[in-house]
Symmetry: none
Subunit: 536 residues, 2 copies
């Protein structure tokens, strides 16, 4: 059916949510993931609202994207001034972004109480700002703020605002439910009215919703059914208050249920990992109940459900989880677990028999009950598979370790770790220093093991995350540490769980290094190197 | 407008969610809270599916409710048998519950693949089961499972199922979107069709939705607009997979936005505490972004938003938070301006002039660039305000601290922290042990300061979160620690940022304790205590 333009504002409006913060480098990674997912327009923010945004646009200008285009965001010109003399519009015109999104007022209440601009001047602000950027060679998306509040109050004036942007050359005018006040019926009526009135102008109509009434997704769908072909939203519905409309839910609804054209099926199958990547980057617990991509979204509990799903999945599943990159969870069936384990072992080239798979399932069940979580710890999970298959070689035998962190009287902080380990009948005592305890332990361990496994020197820690589980239990709570390590090509995760954050970090660190030196992995790397040489 | 019957199935369908578990006593407390909220029908489960359910019905039978009626839940009779000989129907007939809810099949696919019952026998199962309970003096709610899947497949048969229940004397027939497959348009079409076809039978039409497509709330609203007057759902949307339709969102939408009659305004004002009570009872972190009742639902960030809300709340709030028992929050971030800072200082009783507010804004901008983040660290933010206003008293002068974490050869992990500080010209050297470095530092610090500020012994750490910022930079990355502390009534957050996780934890810990002992805060607490005494 209709082709829908997807506009992601995670990096701008999503960042308005409580506790949301990403560095410029991290935002760049997000932009690339959105590109792979197939998002058409990635809104990156205002190119110079602070040093971090400035840095981001400098980074973005040098990047190549397969499909996505970057949109810079700004406001209409200040009142009673000229667009071509407006410093903020000049910043947009000077940025590399091919698309500029401008936000402006639509609602009389805001004109009177917030910005104190008269209605005709507001129309000139819209028209002149859009025209200025169009004259500078930019494609312009015009975001009509509080459009539905304006529509309820004075639909004729709201329409004049949209028309001002359209006639000044905007490619898209977006009706924004900024306060999230509207229900689907109101959205449908206003969009279909606007679509009819603006039909001749040839402008594309867009929708931007928030979830304050819990209907942000339904509102976006209602707008598309009423004629909008550009949909704004954020990943996982991030955003201030109750969040923006959730693109992760909207996209499969549009594509799989309403038959619109948004993404290729390969792109759609990356939806679940992309959604989880964002949560991990933001150190947020992924919402297990999230439609389509949540861990529980296709979980089945209770005998009849499971039997029904086994007989014919359509009896209890509204669609095939693989379409969105998710999978079925059978909460009471060991069979499903075994199959997954087997598949993972096969992929890693580990020979695991039926009894071994069953032991892994039992072990994972027991460990997850203690707070382990293997979704983001593929390295630790592979070690677990190896342990049950017999293809595991411990890196060393531990005698003891000790970490000292000291803030001296002169204000300097020093960290030192000493380890005592046995490798091949020989005792190694090594001390490492570092920026922090994990870094120091890592250095000490590498000082010992690097002599035997020199290629470990090419690997390093790239990420470290700590979360308290069961926070309400206070000091009895356990700490979960997730580490990511990389050898420059591959990245693997490992996990440690303990009452003590340093002990949990140690366990994750050891897994991280052991994973790197497993013979299976070395063979795999050699095979990759051989293949690369043959190819060159 | 129309009066809507609210049917809560938290105690039955809500309990199907992952990790959901309540004792019979706890379920009784829930029933009473739902009664106070004004729920019409509280579904409690099957009166004898296990000993816990049996105990619950025994407890419920002795209770008095102001308004709510208890519904017992069961299935239609087994195939090829008699309703009056069906043991499960007999249990319902023997229970005290004035309302019995029966679930039965509507969808051909399930009849063929899951229960293997022919279509005519299914109609007899529905009719005879309903008639049996009606003859036993019960009011019957009939839940037509997979009704919308059935409607898509064979609307005539789905309608015959509804009609069978209606003609056998059911008070209400409920169209269930059991798999959560439907979108609002389909729901509206099927309900309005059913309403027209069943108009003469006088039966009440109900709706029961799930959130698999993220539109459970919108589907419920669409059904009401199409003629349903009985709405089933759960508190906070608990339920299997993506959850049931969320009554906490549906009710204010129906009442405040669509003008239906559900609760009194006094009852509606208990919505937020009731929703939080359920989360507390289930030991779940309340969803801060939840529409209407979430902590962030009426939170404002960004200078213009805050200025607008201060001028006229309707500019940025879709309704008054007090209507649902919630309140407004002003968040601090690099994007917010002087107005927000001033408002926060006023709320904390700190005298901050215009120049001071400006200094705070500049300071926050600079600190946020270094990785600080004050939204979740209200305690640290208040200290920052105090520092700029001159109303700040440091807790101590630090000389040095040292943390040792050791994993001994016997496998035991020991943690010890020593601090050297000066308070009022006197030097304190104290050592603390703990589960981890933060716990040990906390103990050492309290050992010193607790002598001067004994009420610190009533405060404690309740949460600890660590994140690496700019993870791609590896070892140059900084670590951000967020701590939450509580004195049993109030919870405050503090933050520390450093290359070293222990140093960052130390900074957050000091803020956390300093916040607790600021004279302003102590005065505030005293005022609260005085008010409480006068009131008693």
């Amino acid at each position: 059916m209709t082709s829908i333009q997807l506009y992601d504002t995670t990096l701008r409006d999503g960042m308005q949510g409580e506790g949301m913060s990403l560095s410029a480098e991290e935002k760049l990674r997000v932009a690339h993931r959105l590109d792979v997912l197939g998002i058409d327009l990635v809104e990156a923010g205002f190119p110079s609202s602070n040093p971090k945004e400035l840095e981001l646009f400098e980074l973005l200008a040098r990047e190549r994207f397969a499909h996505a285009e970057i949109a810079a965001f700004g406001m209409t010109r200040r009142r009673d001034s000229r667009a071509d003399e407006d410093p903020a519009l000049r910043v947009l015109a000077d940025s590399f972004a091919p698309v500029c999104t401008l936000v402006g007022k639509t609602w009389g209440l805001h004109l009177e109480k917030v910005v104190k601009v008269d209605r005709d001047e507001n129309l000139r602000m819209i028209a002149e700002s859009v025209a200025f950027l169009v004259a500078q060679g930019r494609r312009v998306v015009y975001d009509a703020e509080h459009c539905f509040d304006g529509w309820r109050d004075d639909p004729a004036y709201a329409l004049r605002c949209l028309r001002a942007a359209a006639e000044a050359g905007a490619e898209t005018v977006v009706m924004c439910d900024t306060n999230g006040a509207s229900l689907p019926g109101e959205i449908a009526a206003a969009v279909s009215d606007a679509a009819a009135q603006l039909a001749r102008s040839g402008v594309q109509l867009g929708i931007h919703c928030h979830d304050d009434a819990g209907v942000g997704v339904a509102n976006s769908l209602a707008a598309v059914e009423a004629g909008a072909t550009h949909v704004q939203g954020t990943m996982n519905g991030y955003g201030e208050r109750c969040g923006n409309a959730n693109l992760v839910t909207i996209v499969p609804n549009l594509q799989l249920k309403l038959g619109h054209d948004c993404l290729t099926s390969e792109q759609l199958a990356t939806l679940t990992p992309t959604a989880h990547f964002l949560d991990e980057l933001l150190n947020r617990t992924p919402n297990a109940d999230q439609p389509y991509v949540g861990k529980n979204a296709f979980a089945h509990k209770g005998g009849m459900h499971v039997a029904g799903v086994m007989a014919d999945a359509t009896t209890f599943e509204h669609l095939d989880p693989a379409l969105v990159g998710n999978r079925r969870e059978l909460l009471i069936s060991e069979l499903s677990g075994k199959g997954t384990v087997q598949a993972r072992a096969d992929a890693a080239g580990i020979a695991l028999d039926d009894a071994g798979s069953r032991r892994v399932v039992e072990r994972v069940k027991e460990l997850e009950h203690r707070g382990y979580h293997y979704e983001a710890a593929d390295g630790s999970f592979e070690l677990l598979l190896r342990k049950e298959s017999g293809e595991y070689e411990p890196l060393f035998r531990l005698e003891s370790w000790r970490v000292i962190v000291e803030r001296r009287a002169d204000g300097k902080v020093e960290t030192e770790a000493t380890i005592k380990i046995w490798v091949g009948g020989e005792r190694y005592v090594r001390t490492g220093e570092g920026n922090g305890p994990v870094h120091a332990l890592d250095n000490a361990l590498r000082a010992a093991i690097g002599e035997i496994h020199p290629h470990l020197n090419e690997t390093g820690l790239v990420n470290f995350k700590v979360r308290i589980l069961d926070e309400t239990k206070g000091t009895e709570a356990v700490t979960r540490v997730l580490l990511d390590a990389s050898d420059g090509q591959d990245v693997w995760g490992s996990i440690g769980v303990s009452e003590n954050v340093i002990a949990a970090s140690w366990d994750a660190l050891v897994d991280s290094l052991e994973y790197a030196v497993q013979p299976g992995r070395e063979r795999h790397e050699q095979a990759l190197r051989d293949a690369a040489q043959t190819g060159s």
